[in-house]
Amino acid sequence: MSERTYVDIEAELTDQPINFDEDICLAENVVYIKPQTLIDVPMHYCPGCGHSTAHKILMEVVDEMGIQEEIIGVAPVGCSVFAYHYMNVDMQEAAHGRACAVATGIKRIMPEKYVFTYQGDGDLAAIGTAETVHAANRGENILVVFINNGIYGMTSGQMAPTTLPGMVTTTSPYGRDVKTQGYPLYISNLLANLPGVAYVSRHSVHTPNNVRKAKKSIAKALEYQKQGLGFCMVEIVTNCPSNWKMTPKQSNQFVEEKMIPFYPLGDIKVPEGK
């Protein structure tokens, strides 16, 4: 349980009446608290960004499995380039798109450790396609957490391979025209066809229920890694309110109405007998 103390400063800062029940706010009654392994600093992500939610659930899984000392992460290039500022586990930065190759090296030297990469769609499915596909094809025993927001967030909103048809980005100002700009890349489905791939599952983090499911899936994938089943990927379909030019609420609505019908949620591949 956390040693952090909480001060009720809301009452001082607002005119709203705050009825703060001290009988309930006891350590034994905590049902949700920020995970210990998520470093207690403000994250640089935009308000409502799914990267933060994904970081949070990943660290919750690490906490719950008690593997903080046994897990090594590889950070990407993209908005989550500073993931190691927030995840209190051993981490290594990779060159843009090369996270799966770096993770391969780490896992082969230290097979007893859990190894994961955390990558955006531009990182994983554009510049890093080759590294991703070949790591999957070699059946590297790693977990890839794939954050699909359909855009290059960090560099201010260029079209990604995963951008939806018709979607306006800075490099597709009239909307993505599949005739000239190609079709969105179903990278998870592609990888699922490879024999070295054990588990591929697609989730979102825009509602409480989806957050629960995504978290369970990450835990499952790490469990499979422990059993040495092979390459596991958890795709999280999420938002980029800033570059989609939407409020966080609108962006989650877009995830629900546009992204999820295009990228249906659920297991794409599960290990045999699981």
């Binding site: 909480y6 800062l13 607002t14 029940d21 049902v31 949700y32 960004c49 609420k249």
Partner: protein, 86 residues
């Protein structure tokens, strides 16, 4: 049924006012403040006492700034009286 009481504490200095917790709350217990925090964000505040500690708000909060407490008051459990006939 036992009475379930919930309470949330929001770390308002870390809140970015994204409002995602508002829709997640079945009790409409969270709204935006009139004032701002030191980062310049309006922040989430609790506006009623209906919270049942379901933790939905905390699950969707990207920045993990909500701590949720839940207490089950077992004394409120109604006792069913069964009469035994002989």
């Amino acid at each position: 049924m036992a009475k379930v009481m919930g309470e949330i504490i929001i770390d308002i200095e870390r809140c970015k006012g994204c409002e995602l917790c508002f829709d997640a709350c079945p009790k409409e217990a969270i709204q935006l403040s009139d004032t701002i925090n030191s980062k310049g964000y309006q922040f989430a505040i609790k506006v009623n006492d209906l919270c049942n500690g379901c933790a939905s708000c905390a699950l969707v909060c990207p920045d993990a700034v909500i701590t949720v407490y839940r207490k089950v008051d077992k004394t409120k459990r109604p006792v069913k009286v069964i009469e035994i006939e002989d």
